[in-house]
């Protein structure tokens, strides 16, 4: 369903507004949806994503927690097992590391180890990626870690419109979902977002732009850069949206047409999600590739502080060069 098909009840919103509206909508719809995290209540979240929700739904459903990431996720696991649908906020992705044991050893395994008796329908929302010139560890792109762990879904919206449809699906999903919100996009772009509810399916990408010569896969904030850099190329751009499980069929059908693929992401190249996509395509579309799959991604360096952020993050020039490279084959 496209924005246009949704009809008249839509208005321009930024991603903060779209996510906020989705949270409210899902909490209205299902009283077992609860929110917890640091500063999500009274303060409405450091990015104001949960603004007004505590006032509307009460402190029992929008819980300001102590400063305890492990505890926030561990408690979410317990709530999810109990039958609630917790939506936990980790204030920045760089602070999710403290909760990884809860995600890897519990959230992702509860269904398997109990053979379906207990499940973990929880969502962990966290702002991620480079671009707001915040202090160290406020700009992490660690999505690949979560993609490697079976039992977890990983979702990244690229617009206010798909943020709403994807988040609603994530909350209703019966397995744990890591929902990564590109902080750079929070207020940078607007789209028409329908008032009524709609679901965008997890596991499906979207063709952001059709093209013939070259396929580009990207997600989140990088999608917009990759698209900007594609000016002058007849490129088919895929907005991946769900990173795990990613839309194999969409990528394959595009690549079989173009014979060329560039994957762009912010995270460091080595063992990033680009590696998996490249490995998958190189195998599944072996006979079709006119050029090797190129990755244009972060350097082998920890995400630097503000001054060097823009040097770390692949810029338009670097991305363009990758396009040119594959076109030269």
């Amino acid at each position: 369903m496209t924005t246009k098909q949704m009809g008249v009840f839509q208005r321009p919103a930024n991603m903060v507004g779209a996510i906020n509206a989705t949270l409210a909508q899902e909490m209205d719809r299902d009283k077992d949806v609860v929110i917890l995290g640091e500063d999500v209540g009274r303060d409405g979240g450091v990015f104001r994503v949960t603004e007004g929700l505590q006032k509307r739904f009460g402190p029992g459903r929008v819980m300001d927690t102590p400063l305890a990431e492990l505890g926030i996720v561990g408690a979410s696991v317990g709530m999810a097992i109990y039958g609630l649908r917790p939506v936990a906020e980790i204030q920045f992705m760089g602070f999710i590391y403290a909760a990884i044991e809860q995600i890897f050893s519990h959230a992702s395994r509860m269904r398997s180890r109990s053979r379906g008796r207990f499940t973990c329908p929880l969502v962990i929302r966290t702002p991620y990626g480079i671009g707001i010139k915040a202090p160290e560890l406020h700009s992490e792109s660690a999505e690949a870690l979560f993609c490697h762990m079976p039992g977890i879904k990983v979702v990244v919206p690229s617009s206010p419109y798909n943020a709403k449809g994807l988040l609603a699906s994530a909350i209703r999903d019966d397995d744990p979902v890591i929902f990564l919100e590109p902080s750079r996009l929070y207020r940078a772009i607007k789209s028409d977002v329908p008032d009524e509810e709609y679901l965008l399916p997890l596991g499906k990408g979207e063709v952001y732009q059709e093209g013939k010569d070259l396929t580009i896969v990207a997600w989140g904030a990088m999608l917009h850069k990759a698209a900007e850099a594609a000016d002058g190329f007849d490129a088919e751009i895929i907005d991946l949206q769900t990173l795990k499980p990613f839309d194999e069929e969409l990528i394959l059908s595009s690549v079989k047409k173009t014979g060329r693929l560039v994957v762009a992401h912010e995270a460091t190249t080595l063992c990033g999600l680009g590696a998996e996509i490249a490995a998958f395509v190189s195998e599944a579309a072996f006979g079709y590739m006119k050029a090797p799959v190129m990755r244009v991604a972060g350097y082998e360096a920890v995400t630097p502080m503000a001054r060097l952020e823009d040097d770390f993050n692949p810029g338009i020039e670097r991305i363009k060069r990758a396009y040119e490279l594959v076109m030269e084959y």
Partner: protein
């Protein structure tokens, strides 16, 4: 006065039946006689189950196993204070708790045979799977407590963990959150004096584990963990308080692990026989029997009958466990997530085809 006292605390310890089988009349009268039979029968059953698990392991019919010998009072006295509808979050050494709650022994054996189906808790009970990463279950109790509060139910949560687990950050975050949100959680520390080879004294320089509760704004108490009546009493009080909205309690059951850590361990490498012998003399059944005999609740004939019944139940459970079909390899993929991914579908085909 430059230095003022702004807080005071006292750490208490509860014992109801002493090692000679004598009991404090005021407390003992609060419990009905039948409860002692229940204690005795459940401990006997758990002990037989445990014995057989150890021999099955030696025969290669069971994997690595963690014995509960010596800790039966702490496990069973506490578990019996909960209702079947309450939530139980065990560590990895809680066979006695599960048996007391009525968890099918055949599933327990199956679990120790290395089969996930053993931890698929039957409907009607709310017992989470045994938790292998030590201490990582503590914060789950917070979530379950929040769930109970959210749904406005009158239920309590038990979360079990060892003295070793009490050193993990999870302990701190779990207890702190439970205190802040005043949740109906009973934290049941099974202080059996050892975490594999690390003695309690090297686990923390703090005098007791119980006292930590005060830091989180609720009560902690140490109980003689080999005194099933004391464990039961303290737990029942905590459960009642939890259900009445009084918030969490930390109970430190001071007990002892009489066997090796697991069947892969050799405890003689790190602790003295004397220490073990001294604790053997304090094991829970001795005093319980003395006490029950005085009360006319125990006789040799009664014990024989209890053992016979327990033994039959254990035999049946082992038979059923061993008769179960082998696990289906495809299940490991099927139960990873609700809807299979394309990759998983291909893998299933490969696995089955």
């Amino acid at each position: 006065m430059p230095i003022s006292v702004i807080g005071k605390m006292e750490v208490k310890r509860l014992q109801v039946i002493n090692e000679q089988g004598q009991a404090d009349a005021s407390l003992i009268s609060l419990l009905p006689d039948s409860i002692y039979n229940k204690f005795f029968e459940t401990i006997t059953l758990a002990r037989l189950y445990n014995q057989r698990a150890l021999s099955l392991q030696r025969e290669g019919r069971l994997g690595t196993y963690a014995s509960i010998l010596g800790q039966e009072a702490s496990q069973i006295g506490s578990a019996l204070a909960f209702d079947p509808s309450d939530w139980i979050i065990p560590s990895f050494r809680e066979s006695g708790v599960l048996i007391a709650m009525g968890y099918p022994m055949r599933l327990l054996y199956r679990y120790w045979m290395g089969d996930e189906r053993g931890m698929s808790c039957p409907e009607g009970l709310n017992i989470l799977p045994m938790c292998v990463p030590v201490g990582s279950q503590l914060t789950h109790s917070v979530g379950v407590g929040m769930g109970i509060k959210h749904k406005g139910e009158k239920k309590a949560v038990a979360v079990y963990f060892g003295d070793g687990a009490s050193s993990r950050g999870d302990f701190h975050e779990g207890l702190n959150l439970a205190g802040v949100f005043k949740l109906p959680v009973v934290f049941l520390c099974q202080n059996n004096q050892w975490a594999i080879s690390v003695p309690r004294s090297a686990q923390s320089a703090g005098a007791t584990i119980a006292e930590r509760a005060f830091s989180y704004g609720f009560e902690g108490i140490q109980v003689d963990g080999n005194d099933v009546a004391a464990v039961y009493k303290a737990t029942k009080d905590a459960v009642d308080k939890a259900k009445a909205g009084g918030g969490p309690t930390l109970i430190e059951c001071f007990t002892y692990r009489l066997d090796d850590h697991t069947t892969s361990d050799d405890a003689t490498r790190y602790r003295s026989r004397d220490e073990v012998e001294a604790w053997k003399a304090r094991e829970p059944l001795i005093r319980l029997k003395l006490f029950m005999e005085k009360k006319g609740l125990w006789s040799k004939a009664y014990e024989d009958e209890v053992i016979k019944k327990a033994s039959d139940a254990v035999d049946a459970a082992i038979k059923e466990a061993e008769a179960m079909s082998p696990p289906d390899a495809a299940d490991m993929i099927r139960f990873t997530n609700k809807e299979l991914t394309l990759r998983q579908k291909r893998e299933l085909e490969e696995l089955e085809g």
